[in-house]
């Protein structure tokens, strides 16, 4: 008799008590491959206003600091929604089609 194949995440005995998870562990899941277009910043036009950072639903923008004076998107997580490009007051962000 063959046992049916199992498609399971964890053994019964290995499940955490109370079926819990560690904080912030969705970072293990890269949502970047949902994207068909990606935001590309023209640093010349950027005025470091932070709108791309404030308005990103996925929290992918990182403040590069007072010397660099721009925010960098983390493409591991950016889903390509285009809010940053739309909200940029200087039109410094362009949504560019991803190469397949």
């Amino acid at each position: 008799m063959t046992k049916p194949t199992i498609d399971a995440l964890a053994k019964v005995g290995d499940l955490p008590l109370g079926f819990t998870a560690k904080p912030g562990s969705t970072m293990d899941f890269k949502t970047g491959d949902w994207r068909s277009v990606k935001p590309v910043l023209d640093k010349e036009k950027c005025i470091y206003c932070g709108f791309c950072y404030f308005y990103c639903p996925d929290g992918v923008y990182k403040d590069m600091g007072k010397d660099e004076k721009y925010y960098q998107a983390d493409y591991d997580y950016c889903k390509g929604c285009g809010i940053c490009a739309h909200e940029c007051p200087k039109k410094a962000i362009t949504m560019v089609l991803e190469e397949v």
Binding site: A8, K11, V12, G13, L15, G18, F19, T20, A21, K22
Partner: protein, 388 residues
């Protein structure tokens, strides 16, 4: 040595909750449970119990608040009956998976319709599959003791499960009985402070209550089944520890004059006292009858039940709840299925009685003993004393 005092059983349950230094009580009034939480709110109002009493707007919110408070690390209690338990149903199924050790006292009452405030076991039986530990008390002393024991079992780090402590509505909850009230120091010895297994802790955050898809739901249910079965040694351990402190030894299954009994009635709750009186009277008339009572209903104490009925020729299983469209009540189903895979083959029938507060008398039990004693097996459960 403490002297027993006359006390309403509901109040004794509340006194036990006080002695347990419970942190949070979230409750909603419903007959016949209400005296428990009324007395608890008095104890809080008088400063005798330092707890938060949350007067929630429904039983659904009562159990929801209890889940929240237990997850935050507070010793948590609530009580309900019947429709209240039915309204809690959704939460009842969630609590064991989140492993929150809530203690719930249920003054058992019939489910609507027709609306009926009196005693039977249909409320608890409707949530028997949810993963809770279920205990049934027979009398007032046991109700108080089992309330304390429930906290100990629930919060045992190897268990960490919610526990329901069942008392028959009115016929137990509203009776005044002689009850020994333990000393606080004794209770403190038996029941250590609650150290939660998991907690909504600012310093060590966790996420509780996640989505479980097809790739882990089966495992989560099996894990819940395992932990419930594995709780039995901890339950008997708590009974033993209780005996060490208080000198009252409880067992998961109790027996009365069963050793040489040819016919045994198996039941749960306060009607056992009536059944035992019937047994005494029938024994005097030379009939070999006995009683087996389940104190523990979930996890189902299989070995103890088999041991208790091993010598019986005839077995009558009593249910206080009718499973409509099915041949047996829940206890009947459980016992029959247990016997099927054992080498014991007593003549087993299932009797439904005492629904919605219908009196259960010695004569009812004598009738059942005699009918079961004839060796006749009924495939369908019999509604005892039904007028048709």
């Amino acid at each position: 040595m403490a002297k027993p005092i006359g006390m309403e059983v509901s109040l004794a349950v509340a006194e036990a909750v006080k002695l347990a230094n419970t942190d949070v009580v979230a409750a909603y009034p419903i007959t016949p449970q209400t005296h428990i939480v009324e007395h608890l709110s008095e104890l809080v109002a008088d400063g005798e119990l330092d707890a938060a009493y949350i007067p929630v707007e429904s039983e659904h919110s009562a159990m929801s608040s209890c889940i929240g408070s237990s997850a935050a690390g507070a010793r948590t209690f609530t009580a309900t009956s019947s429709q209240g338990l039915a309204l809690m149903n959704e939460m009842i199924y969630i609590a064991p998976i989140l492993r929150v050790p809530i203690v719930l006292a249920i003054a058992n009452r019939a489910l609507s319709a027709p609306i009926n405030i009196w005693n039977d076991h249909s409320d608890i039986m409707s949530v028997r599959d949810a993963g809770w530990i279920c205990l049934f008390a027979e009398n007032g002393q046991e109700a108080l003791d089992l309330t304390l024991i429930s906290f100990r079992i629930a919060e045992d780090p190897k268990v960490s499960l919610p526990v329901s402590m069942n008392i028959d509505g009115f016929t137990l909850s509203h009776f005044i009985e002689p009850i020994l009230i333990p000393e606080q120091a004794e209770v403190d010895k038996f029941l250590p402070p609650f150290k939660p297994n998991l907690q909504l802790d600012i310093k060590n955050p966790i996420s509780i209550g996640l989505l479980g898809g097809p790739e882990c739901y089966t495992e989560s249910r099996k894990a819940a089944d395992d932990v419930l079965w594995n709780s039995k040694p901890q339950i008997t351990k708590a009974f033993d520890e209780f005996n060490k402190v208080f000198g009252r030894q409880y067992h998961v299954v109790e027996t009365y004059r069963h050793e040489d009994a040819e016919t045994i009635i198996l039941l749960m709750g306060s009607i056992a006292e009536t059944a035992m009186t019937a047994v005494d009277e029938m024994r005097e008339a030379g009939q070999k009858v006995g009683v087996v009572r389940l104190r523990l209903w979930r996890p189902f104490p299989e070995e103890e039940v088999l041991a208790a009925v091993s010598k019986a020729k005839n077995l009558a299983v009593i249910d206080r709840h009718a499973v409509l469209g099915c041949s047996s009540g829940p206890v009947g189903l459980e016992v029959k299925s247990l016997l099927l895979n054992s080498n014991l083959k007593p003549n087993t029938s299932n009797y439904i009685l005492g629904l919605g507060g219908r009196d259960v008398t010695r004569d009812d039990f004598k009738y059942i003993f005699e009918k079961a004693g004839s060796g006749q097996v009924q495939t369908r459960c019999e509604f005892v004393g039904v007028y048709e």
